[in-house]
Amino acid sequence: MTGSRGKGRVVNDIRVLRSARGLTQQALADAAGATRQTIIAVEAGKYAPSLELAFRIAKVLEAPFEQVFAFRGE
């Protein structure tokens, strides 16, 4: 439910990639089929999205999945 569960956590570069493409959080949310609050929570690392949403975000950002998300183990 959150960005960290057990050992390790999902981290992302959504904020950087989004800004580079001139997208607002609302625009990204609309294009990815999520709410702005969810994008905010994902960017802040407070919510780990489902695989499906993660792929949709990567697609909207036109970036390879592994450039957007990474798993940082302990």
Binding site: M1, T2, R18, T24, Q25, Q26, G33, A34, T35, Q37, T38, I40, A41, E43, A44, K46, Y47, P49, S50, L53
Partner: protein, 159 residues
């Protein structure tokens, strides 16, 4: 502190409405700390009013929210995950509360002279009150969980 979202306002309004309805229910059922003896017909009337008030309050809150910003609350996977966690907490509360009632009933048979507060489940008003109170408690736990989980995940943004 992050801004409160429409979904959170709605959950908060729903919680306040629920507490208000429970307060009304309690006033109808209790005199001080004693549950008032009432006929079944009157209890049924209270039941209908509580259900009607609860349904009306939920519809009103949803309609008002939509009227204010012209949009329905759209839920995505995070909202559904929060709903699921809140429902789970509600279920845990109800299971624990019902088990407490069962233990209370059994213990009263075993330790008849104990000094703890007694619950007479053979009395219809008491049974009605405690079962309804458990349902209310579960709903209150659910809404508090919803609000807490949203706050937990909220974050400030400059976008």
């Amino acid at each position: 502190m992050a801004a409160v979202t429409r979904t959170e306002w709605q959950a908060l309004a729903s919680l306040l409405a629920l507490v208000a309805i429970f307060a009304w229910f309690q006033m109808r059922m209790m005199d001080g700390w004693t549950i008032v003896d009432q006929p079944a017909a009157k209890l049924f009337g209270i039941y209908i009013v509580v259900i009607a008030f609860s349904a009306f309050a939920e519809i009103l809150i949803a309609s008002l929210g939509a009227a204010i910003d012209g949009k329905r609350v759209v839920k995505d996977e995070r909202d559904l995950a929060i709903d699921a966690r809140a429902n789970q907490n509600e279920r845990i509360f109800i299971i624990v509360a019902v088990n407490v009632l069962i233990w209370q009933a059994l213990m009263e048979e075993v330790f008849a002279g104990h000094a703890l507060p007694k619950i007479d489940l053979t009395s219809l008003p008491e049974l009605f009150f405690f079962l309804f109170a458990i349902l209310f408690g579960g709903e209150i736990v659910k809404r508090l969980s919803t609000l807490w989980l949203y706050r937990l995940q909220s974050a400030l943004s400059d976008a």
